[in-house]
Amino acid sequence: MSAFENKGNGTPKIGVYVCHCGINISGKVDVSEAVAFAGRLPYVTIAREYKFMCSDPGQELIAADVRSGLIDRAVVASCSPLMHELTFRRAVTTGGGNPFMFQMANIREHVSWVTLDRVAGTEKAKALIAAAVSRVARHEPLEPTRVPVNPDVLVVGGGIAGIHASLTLANAGKKVYLVEREPTIGGHMAQFDKTFPTLDCSACILTPKMSAVRAHPNITLWTYSEVDAVDGYVGNFKVRVRRKPRYVNEDLCVGCSDCIEACIFKKGKISDEFNVGLSKRKPIYIPFPQATPLVAVIDAESCAHFKTGKCKKPCADACQPNAINLEQTEEIKEIEVGAIILATGFKTFEASRISRYGYGKYENIYTSLEVERLVNAAGPTSGEIVLKNGEKPEAVGIVHCVGSRDNNTNVYCSRVCCMYSLKLAHLVKERTGAEIYNFYIDMRTPGKGYEEFYERLLREGVHFIRGRVAEISDWAMKPEEEGRIIIRAEDTLIGAVRRIPVDMVILSVGLEPQSDAEEVRRRFNISCSREGWFLERHPKLAPVSTFTDGVFLAGACQGPKDIPDSVAQAGAAAAEALALVDRGFVELEPNTAYVQEEICSGCRTCTNLCPYNAITIKKDKNVAEVNGAICKGCGTCVAACPSGALQQNLFTDEQIYSEIRGVLSHV
């Protein structure tokens, strides 16, 4: 009885299907040679080639062969299993076979696309096919494990993306937990004045959605809170949320701001986060008038009571509903959800990193986000655009690509700067009548109505100079330059260097991943791109999914995005999450570990290796036992088992040994 003979259903009958993938594969792999080779391999009853195996007729080839009993298992040599494994398993099932009597050979991503020489490519492809064949011969029918899915969804981040995703899910009748780190939701969009290209007021379109979140019966809103830990797997995540003490009882506070009036700080001393440091707030504050929830918060860093303990706490006395509770402590919430949507957003580039732009060195040099607040009627200057000396600027320079398209900072294009620069140009010109100079490398206005907006600006007489600004300084060379900020750049369309004196400079800073993106991605067990943006499962076909099932992405945490795109993606993420939780169950790969009791010696090596404590010892027989529901199929225990009693479905020692032998078979 040979160990290579397949247990269960007689001698294996294998069908091999080699895909041309147009010329993607056939360009570097001699497909017909590969097929001929496959045909000669043991147990192979049929070997075929086809232009596109993933097409319906392609799949039908497999189904038909299974149906006719010609084969009982299949090998498809085409793209990566991460791409089409499910497709072909389904094909096997349609033919009446077991989906796991199937193996894929990745001869596109791992061969044709990475190999220059056609002969070498063909050889490599043959080796991989041989491996798949000798492996699939040892496959056994398996049933996918079905687990129920918790219908609730967690949304992390209360910016426009998070808000939209939450509302969509809540409207579909799902229970949503929305967790936001700041004291209020709204994110960056709440800080903006107008939105491009339509110029409708940002707050006016955002605040209704914010209050809708607050009011929605299906949404549990936790602001000033952070996700501490995530455990479990798709359909059944266990999440720990830490609610930081805001020292104000959310249910009692009515947002009347009497407490703020009463605070011993007669006026603000602490730089105001919402106004990006352009104004000062008190230790007890409400971020902005439309804050949601409209509840005061005390920042213990600066509050006299927490620093000295000597404060008379006038805030507490002033509060009629007695909402102030200085004894409040951190609160831990344990929740279970079926799906998670990450919408943690972005941060803006730190302009002082480019020293030659003089940010923080000269007065009247602002970042675009600061100017958003300046032009905002509710902002620190109540919409007045004035210089530090109180005068109106006569000329304003807008510098594009600050911290973008630059190997010294970020190589990527931040995608939104061109458009918001145009917007700010319009607003500033409208409010001050100043001459506006835009310094750009390339004007990027792809989007509905964007190019038209650019034309409008051109017509409004805003100056556009194609050239990246070299230097911003107070070094005057002409009388008219005295006491002003001079921008020096080449006007590349003219081929001359220009010095343009202005009174105010706006640095259009790029978008960067949140500073703690790295920790967050670890917490949620997903990957990051080189730049630190969260990595989507597939750039085109799975743009809101991640490599961790049940965790989805929305908004700028996945890459620079403007509001329309963020909202669209949030909708998509919500739909994906909905599709998952609405189904009620998930089918998990049956790649769990199992114990061959007759071999197990009960040595307990495995029990403490398992990261999920899925392995216990059967008291009566003193052998190990794997809890299939908990096991996630990493196989660490299998590798460690000294007696080989532990095995992993779909990855048994036998299967892997024969795969190894396969790849080396025609050495």
Partner: protein, 302 residues
């Protein structure tokens, strides 16, 4: 012997004062220096534009000599005051380290003179040495009469910090300003610290050179400083010697002392004028009576 000293051609002629002042300052701070024996041209800019390989070879010979001259030490610390030499040698060292093929080629050539290069040479600028090898107190203590009340414009020029130097912030250097502060002087903040003075263009395309230098002096004067201090013989030469020419050309008298930073240090350390080569400068910085330099004259655009 702590350091080997590579003067370079300029410090033997137009830049003699730099050599004299540097050596006496180093002596004062008891840093032992010894001149590199039979050193040759660094393969400067002009040379580089004819044969890169040969330029590197010239530098390499200097390294080889240096390494031969201090066998016992693990690295030869080569102090190079001239900005142009500093850059060239640094560049050569970079390229020799980065490109093995190049290194072998050059070493083969050096063999013919029984020399070879093991990248054991470290190129140091006096600024680097004074800022990083000494405790600031050491310099403070050496000051006998503080230069308080003197406003100086620290002018680094191009080639010290850019592009290979690692001892200071390339985009906004501050080492010289820190030194000036230690001496009690007041360094002004200005955006032209590292703007080019025109370099060799002063000799070849003078109208360009004059303007570039004038721009720098003009700005220094406007910001009301009493002296410009440099760390480069060519900068010093351009900025100082052509002042009369500029005055005529732009109808605006520029008359401001341009000193080597080592000369300034020497003055604070109370070293004699002769030892500092101050008599070689065209206009002195009289610390006793500071004449406020007027910011008059009209602007000249380039």
């Amino acid at each position: 012997m702590d350091y080997l000293y590579y003067p370079g051609c300029s410090l033997k002629s137009t830049g003699r004062a730099y050599e004299e002042s540097m050596l006496s300052v180093f002596r004062k701070l008891d840093l032992a220096v010894m001149e590199l024996e039979d050193w040759n041209c660094c393969g400067a800019t002009a040379y580089m534009s004819i044969s890169e390989l040969k330029a590197f070879a010239l530098s390499a010979r200097n390294f080889a000599l240096a390494e031969a001259q201090c066998k016992e030490l693990s690295t030869a610390e080569l102090v190079v005051p001239c900005a142009a030499c500093y850059l060239c040698l640094n560049k050569a060292r970079r390229y020799l380290d980065e490109h093995e093929e190049l290194r072998e080629k050059i070493n083969r050539a050096l063999q013919t003179a029984n020399l070879d290069y093991h990248n054991r040479t470290r190129i140091r600028h006096p600024l680097d040495v004074l800022a990083n090898d000494l405790r600031p107190e050491k310099i403070k203590d050496a000051v006998v009469h503080s230069l308080s009340g003197i406003k100086v414009a620290c002018y680094y020029g191009c080639q010290i910090v850019r592009p290979y130097a690692d001892f200071d912030d390339q985009k906004n250097p501050h080492v010289m300003d820190d030194l000036a502060r230690l001496l009690g002087a007041e360094p002004i903040s200005w955006p032209l610290k590292t703007r080019c003075c025109g370099g060799s263009l002063m000799g070849t395309a003078q109208d360009v050179g004059l303007r570039l230098s004038f721009i720098i002096l003009k700005e220094a004067v406007k910001r009301g400083c009493h002296a410009v201090i440099t760390a480069c013989p060519l900068c010093q030469f351009n900025l100082e010697c052509y002042q009369p020419k500029m005055s005529n050309l732009y109808g605006e008298s520029v008359n401001i002392p341009v000193l080597y930073f080592t000369q300034l240090m020497g003055m604070a350390f109370g070293i004699s004028e002769r030892e500092l080569g101050l008599q070689r400068n065209f206009n002195r910085l009289d610390t006793a009576s500071l004449s406020r330099i007027s910011a008059g004259g009209e602007h000249v655009g380039i």
